[in-house]
């Protein structure tokens, strides 16, 4: 039974993508651009719900550590804790984003393509994080990247969106070239591509070190590591908001996970990667926060803040890899999940405001800070949800971000090393610095004087406000009772250490 459920998870989204596309182009439905509902969207939500159901049924087996693996010929997939974190985040966030996107995309042409590509994105992430050999990993990584290229440039009549898409395409392609070079080097040295087999196969050589560098940079482009992050502010701010949420919440984390899997195969002592992650994490946190401070466009500010959150993830992972601290990995995966929720909520709220306040004619200007002044008076729920997301991202209790950062902080002190302690204190100070741009944004939402666009803004439909409310509730619940997610992130932390030690 577990195997059947696993196959469903792997195959359903990918197989249904063409059906979702075709359903949107059926003769009766095609051409009705202002429909309130969309068959493609419903089908996608059904598919995601089905996958969530399969995941829920699979959950006890994964937690208990049973061998949840399937194989087709020489290609096999395995579900471990790390996969659980990412698959769960993708499916849940994906479901909310799809639910949200109904009215958002209703006026666009080609929305059936959006949902079909979204299905491919979801399916490729699921296959990516469960892959057990480097080639399948790379293949699914590519599939994920290709599906996001067009999703980023979805508003294709908008020059800025096209520019963002092209930059993202070129840089991501460069990353993929590096990765395949690295895989080739690994294959050349070791003769096999299976991740578990590679781990135990001998020590590192210069070729493998070079492969490690290629993996770090190649996957690092996707994971938005500074200085490879330059595509991210454009891409995440120009994409449709449901997609921005997915990109920031899940796709960059998937890049990070793919990097982890690839690096574990090299036989290089994990302290090397640990130190690299800590250093890169520190740079990411500071650069992300400083760059976000000056932003006037709302979605661009959120995009830069994603860069700093990747920094927090890298710090947690670095602590785990450098010193073998279990709570480092636990914290990083916990933060991955909470970041998906919080950043997803932030982007979706910004999207709701974009939808309500700015014109729908496909040439939406970016949502700027002066535009959102006084939002709370007219859109109390959206403002509350947005504030919850921003304050959670800033690490204030009683919201989710505080708890996930806390676990990473405990790791820094558990390592009993001055440098590790300094790293987490630096992280705490960066968290304070991030409040310097989150807090003014929250203030603006609650100002009494409404901006012109708020005064003349349209209503936010229920299909947008309900997902926002649910995500905000999740942020609050996780903040008060973090133990809800504990089994998941503890398993992931253990798996991380097993990968490298």
């Amino acid at each position: 039974m577990p195997n059947k459920l696993f196959w469903i998870l792997l195959i359903l989204p990918l197989a249904c993508a063409p059906i979702i596309y075709l359903a949107g182009r059926l003769p009766g439905i095609r051409g009705q651009h202002n429909r309130q509902t969309s068959l493609s969207r419903w089908l996608l939500m059904l598919v995601l719900a089905g996958c969530l159901y399969a995941l829920a049924r699979l959950y006890p087996a994964i937690l208990s550590g049973e061998q949840t693996a399937v194989s087709l010929g020489t290609v096999s997939f395995q579900f471990d804790g790390i996969s659980l974190v990412l698959v769960g985040s993708t499916l849940i966030l994906g479901f909310f984003c799809t639910w949200f996107s109904g009215r958002y995309l209703a006026a666009e042409t080609g929305e059936e393509k959006y949902y079909a590509l979204f299905a491919i994105l979801t399916g490729s992430i699921i296959c990516l994080v469960t892959a057990t050999d480097l080639f399948t990993l790379w293949l699914c990584f590519e599939l994920m990247a290709v599906s996001t290229y067009t999703l980023v440039a979805f508003h294709r009549h908008n020059a800025a969106a096209l520019e963002a898409g092209v930059k993202y395409l070129v840089q991501s392609a460069l990353g993929s070239v590096f990765v395949i070079l690295g895989i080739a080097l690994v294959f050349g040295e070791k003769g096999t591509l299976a991740i578990s087999a590679l781990k135990s196969a001998g020590a590192a050589s210069p070729g493998l070190l070079a492969a490690g560098g290629l993996f770090l940079i190649g996957f690092g482009i996707k994971a938005a590591i500074v200085p490879l992050h330059t595509w991210l502010p454009d891409a995440h701010s120009q994409a449709p908001s449901g997609m921005s949420a997915m990109l920031s919440g899940v796709v960059i984390s998937a890049g990070l996970v793919a990097m982890l899997r690839a690096l574990s195969t090299l036989g290089v002592p994990s302290t090397v990667w640990g130190c690299a992650f800590l250093a890169l994490g520190a740079i990411n946190m500071l650069a992300g926060n400083l760059l976000a401070l000056r932003q006037v466009e709302v979605k661009r500010m959120l995009a830069y803040s994603s860069i700093s959150h990747i920094g927090y993830l890298l710090t947690g992972l670095g602590l785990a890899l450098n010193k073998g601290v279990l709570s480092g990995g636990e914290g990083a995966f916990f933060h991955l999940m909470t970041h998906a929720v919080m950043k997803g909520l932030a982007f979706l709220s910004a999207g709701a405001l974009l939808y309500a306040l700015l014109p729908h004619d496909g040439s939406r200007g970016p949502l700027k800070l002066p535009d959102i002044q006084g939002t709370a008076r007219k859109y109390p729920l959206v403002a509350l949800a947005f504030s919850a997301a921003l304050l959670a991202l800033g690490g204030l209790p009683p919201l989710a971000g505080f708890m996930s950062k806390w676990v990473i902080f405990t790791a820094g002190f558990a390592a009993r090393d001055g440098w590790m302690t300094a790293a987490v204190i630096f992280m705490a100070l960066n968290s304070v610095l991030s409040l310097a741009y989150y807090a003014p944004l929250v203030n603006r939402l609650y100002q009494r004087k409404m901006s012109d666009v708020v005064e003349s803004g349209a209503a936010v439909p229920l299909s947008m406000s309900v997902p926002l409310a649910l995500l905000a509730l999740a942020t609050l619940v996780i903040g008060f009772y973090p133990a809800i997610l504990q089994p998941i992130y503890q398993l992931a932390g253990k798996n991380l250490l097993a990968l490298f030690f």
Binding site: L174, A204, G213, L228, L291, V432, A436, N443
Partner: protein, 582 residues
């Protein structure tokens, strides 16, 4: 029963916050009365809890492996602060009914006050360092939201963010200390640390001790972090009374008082605490003497009195600290609320424009005068007894230089108290101001606090008895009213203190005579007014960060070619570093 009462002091205000928020803009006129009900109930629960104080945790909930247990422990120190927070909170809310009448977005105001009250009680009741920090951060959030309540005013927003950032930076000290203790003991429980501090490695204990000192100094606006509190006076005055005088700023003092048994033996810690307390007390008193804004004078006064409390902690005088916490909360809230009544009436905070207001608002003048006398330490009022206890402890246990400086500080306190009272209520009116009478709700709060200023010292027997019984690690002596009176009146230090206070008052009378500061002292005004250069440091840091951020923007060129160059350079660097490193 204690468990229910303990939980009520946190959950009733929080439930109230949700209810008030849900009222929305349409029914915001109900927000105030609802808030009064909820804060009143919380105050009642706190007063009922006090006799039932216990040294044992009444709530013990496991919250997950990395988070320890959420424990709530209503002992003497906690219950005292809970009572202060809820009762004065209720009085501030009642005052707000008149003060905030006609303002907008009142649901936000009252909801955050209630959130704050619940968080403050949680902070002091918490037996777990993680949850202490959890509630600490929530108080910071509420404080920020309330300071920047009038968020159409950029000054208020700036003040709020400054307070938030500075207290959060200090909070990193608490975070670091808490985690170091966790790493050493495997638990977040505070009592574990207090019971056996010797079991913790010296380096870890010292790290935690100084980290907590940083956090406490930032939260209680002690030197060198005092610059946020005067700017926080942009908040509506009931908020200044509640948060920035009677409760939140006490959190730092509470932290030091709570952990004193563990850190007392850390080399240099007690001295550091005493130094911080003395420097703050004196510098803030000097700043209060030259400040031109009514609320700023009171803000500096708060900082100075907190300095007295911090000084007392450094001496190990637990009884004196708790007693002064109580007295100060009451008379400072009284002063702020009276000041609020004045500001509400005349529409300005500028001392230069006031004068002679006493004739037109006798009730408020009386309230303010009582508060000022208590602050100065005039006998019978509560401030006298608690300040004398601190000075006596200083004479007996502390370094001589500390005692003499704090004595001078008492004189300076009398000086600025008399100055501000005079400038507002006496003399000739300096400008024509239209007076707007104070409402019944305002007068009610002021009356209660005035009575409190006269009588709260009578509670010394109750407070010290409960603290003695429920604080096994802190040495609190039981003192009866009779003992208190005898001890203080008999002590020669008391006469010295009273003479100094009268001396301070006399200096003001002399100044008034001559209307001008003598030439040789005039150069001191500027540096004192700019917080002895601390404000310049703050501005400098903000400028540097802003400058760096602006320069960093240039790296995001927007040109694809440059992006690819960054990538290639990164790859080359990585491979080189890997080759060298591994």
């Amino acid at each position: 029963m204690p468990a229910i009462l303990t939980l009520s002091t946190i959950l009733i205000p929080w439930l109230g916050a949700v209810v008030v928020w849900a009222l929305g803009e349409k029914r915001q006129h109900l927000a105030g009365p609802a808030a009064v009900v909820f804060s009143g109930l919380a105050g009642l629960a706190a007063l009922l809890l006090y006799p039932a104080a216990s040294a044992e945790s009444v709530i013990d909930l496991p919250m997950g492996d990395a988070f320890g247990n959420l424990t709530l422990r209503p002992d003497g120190l906690a219950c005292l602060l809970v009572a202060i927070a809820t009762v004065i909170g209720c009085l501030a809310v009642i005052f707000s009914l008149d003060y905030m009448r006609g303002e907008h977005q009142l649901t936000r105001y009252y909801a955050f006050i209630l959130l704050f009250i619940g968080a403050m009680t949680g902070l002091v009741l918490s037996g777990s360092l993680l949850y202490l920090f959890f509630f600490w951060e929530i108080t910071a959030l509420s404080s920020y939201a309330l300071i920047s309540f009038n968020n159409d005013d950029p000054k208020a927003v700036r003040g709020g963010i400054k307070a938030l950032i500075m207290t959060q930076v200090g909070g990193a000290g608490l975070l670091a200390g808490a985690l170091a203790l966790y790493a050493a003991t495997g638990s977040f429980q505070i009592d574990l640390v207090l019971a056996a501090p010797a079991a913790i490695p010296g380096g870890v204990l010292a790290f935690a001790a100084f980290g907590f000192l940083v956090a406490a100094a930032a939260k209680s606006a002690q030197f060198p972090f005092q610059t946020w509190l005067p700017d926080a006076m942009e908040a509506p005055t009931p908020i200044s009374a509640l948060i920035h005088a009677a409760t939140m700023v006490n959190a730092g003092v509470y932290l030091l008082a709570r952990f004193y048994p563990a850190f007392a033996d850390v080399p240099g810690w007690k001295t550091a605490v005493i130094v911080v307390g003395v420097v703050t007390a004196i510098s803030a008193a000097l700043m209060a003497i030259v400040a031109g804004d009514l609320k700023r004078v009171l803000a500096y006064s708060t900082v100075s009195q907190l300095g007295y409390m911090v000084y007392a902690i450094g001496l190990g005088a637990q009884t004196a600290v708790q007693f002064h916490l109580l007295s100060h909360a009451i008379f400072k809230a009284l002063l702020f609320l009276s000041a609020g009544a004045v500001i509400h009436s005349v529409g300005t905070r500028d001392l230069e424009r006031m004068g002679g207001l006493g004739k037109k608002m006798p009730f408020i003048r009386a309230a303010f005068v009582v508060g000022a006398l208590a602050l100065a330490g005039i006998p019978i009022l509560n401030g006298f007894w608690s300040k004398e206890l601190i000075l006596e402890a200083g004479l007996e246990y502390g370094p001589a230089w500390g005692y003499w400086l704090m004595l001078i500080g008492a004189g300076l306190t009398a000086l600025y108290s008399l100055r501000v009272t005079w400038l507002v209520f006496y003399g000739m009116p300096r400008t024509e101001l239209h007076i707007h009478p104070a409402g019944k709700a305002m007068k009610t709060s002021l009356l209660v606090l005035t009575v409190g200023s006269f009588t709260s010292w009578l509670l010394v027997a109750v407070v010290t008895k409960i603290s003695h019984l429920t604080l096994p690690y802190h040495k609190v002596d039981e003192i009866s009213i009779g003992t208190l009176v005898k001890e203080i009146l008999a002590n020669p230090g008391t006469i010295t203190a009273l003479l100094t206070i009268l001396g301070g008052a006399a200096i003001w009378v002399i100044f008034m005579r001559f209307q001008n500061l003598p030439k040789f002292l005039r150069w001191t005004i500027r540096p004192i007014q700019s917080s002895f250069g601390m404000e310049a440091i703050n501005t400098g840091i903000t400028r540097v960060v802003g400058f760096t951020a602006e320069k960093l923007r240039k790296t995001q060129t927007g040109l694809l070619s440059w992006n690819l160059v960054y990538i290639v350079i990164a790859l080359i660097l990585t491979i080189v570093l890997l080759g060298v490193g591994a």
